[in-house]
Symmetry: C2
Subunit: 213 residues, 2 copies
């Protein structure tokens, strides 16, 4: 699948439908994608925080020149970087890497030393800037995942014709949930589409429900 | 579509099949996606450079501790940030925005002033760091687009069963090109899959070729 269509569609929304929340399954997908984001040495020196506390959001909005997006959004993610990045940070990463790769810690100690050598060339503030850059990369991944998740739970939407019978239309559509399908069928643009093609079809459309394995 | 599957699959490859290049259509998709990447104020103070000159690649490899990835990769993208970010940068962006939005320049001048005010609080080096962060965000988008483009031109792959007849398997597959389909059918994992299910099917699989509208 190509991401470009999602980027042709996405934009920085300023006003939100305050009655709606993002489907928890979609939110879980977004955070899982970011968890898998690459970073320099794989250190991921940041945390994604989902802020729901009203008083905190007011505070954040003030820090963002009082912009209303912070207090009107259904969900606010804050990306915070580690500030004390040192040999302890690296050691803790190597500890986890040894477990994940099912190898002995000593096999990763050359790597640990290399990372420490590179970091030792950066002072306290430079390390924070380095961490912030990794965080911005993760934001790029987050934006991509959100764009790909799209609106209203439509995951995939292909409009095709049979190659050897171009008068037969075949649509392949994947929805996040039963509810997403219901929402899609009820949406204005779907209703408008069916009203537009009504007189042009030879018969009533038939649908087959498939279940992913 | 959810990006998470692509991130479960992707990793920082260190060794490459030097006989292969990325399909130009895929490469064009990647650069187009990055062109649409968001950035602070939309200023995109960076350029993606596709470097092919051998001597330049040797030079870059030396700057990257002599790592072989730079000289053995089929394509090397370098992300370079603007260094002189000032009122001229902003003016040129506003010029383009006026054209793109089909509005008079004067309608965007309040915006121009606001951006200049924010940037005026950053000194020369801080602006470069600011630009680098925007570039890292774009790298996150690029990595996402590359992960989504995947290997071997398979764009979409769904394995399903009919809900009311769970013994009927339905696969929906989308390929980047005829060649991508041929490559996929010839691939070891496809051959292994068909060998594995051969004795378990009631009949020979039938396929229908669809063309996207
Ligand atoms: C900004 C950045 C710089 C990187 N630099 C290098 C590098 O110089 N050499 C290298 O082999 N890998 C490099 N990597 C790859 C990371 O080590 C890798 O992304 C990380 O360990 C996570 O592993 P994964 O990408 O395979 O999930 C870099 C990654 C990022 C995001
Ligand atoms: C790092 C960053 C910070 C941003 N900060 C704000 C902001 O404070 N307020 C706002 O309305 N938009 C903000 N934006 C949105 C950008 O203005 C927007 O992404 C850019 O103009 C491109 O437009 P698009 O995202 O609609 O394609 C920010 C974007 C990025 C990437």
């Amino acid at each position: 699948m190509s991401l470009v269509k999602s980027f042709e569609w996405r934009y920085a929304t300023k006003k939100y439908d305050t009655a709606r929340k993002v489907d928890p399954a979609v939110l879980a997908d977004l955070t899982e994608t970011v968890r898998l984001a690459p970073s320099s040495f794989g250190l991921q020196p940041y945390k994604f925080l989902l802020i729901e506390d009203k008083a905190k959001l007011e505070e954040i909005s003030r820090a963002a020149h009082g912009q209303p997006q912070i207090t009107t959004g259904a969900h606010v993610m804050v990306l915070a970087v580690e500030t004390d990045i040192d040999e302890k940070t690296v050691a803790s990463y190597i500890d986890k890497a040894a477990i994940a790769r099912q190898t002995e810690r000593k096999n990763l100690e050359a790597r640990e030393q290399f990372v420490n050598t590179v970091l030792s060339k950066l002072d306290y503030n430079q390390r924070i800037v380095w961490a912030e850059k990794q965080a911005f990369l993760a934001v790029g991944v987050f934006v991509s995942a959100a764009a790909e998740a799209g609106i209203d739970g439509v995951e995939v939407f292909y409009q095709t014709v049979k190659q050897d019978d171009p008068n037969t239309l075949v649509f392949f559509e994947v929805f996040k949930s039963q509810q997403a399908l219901k929402d899609h069928l009820a949406a204005d643009y779907t209703q408008a589409f069916f009203a537009g093609v009504k007189d042009k079809l030879a018969g009533k459309p038939a649908s087959k429900i498939l279940k992913e394995l």
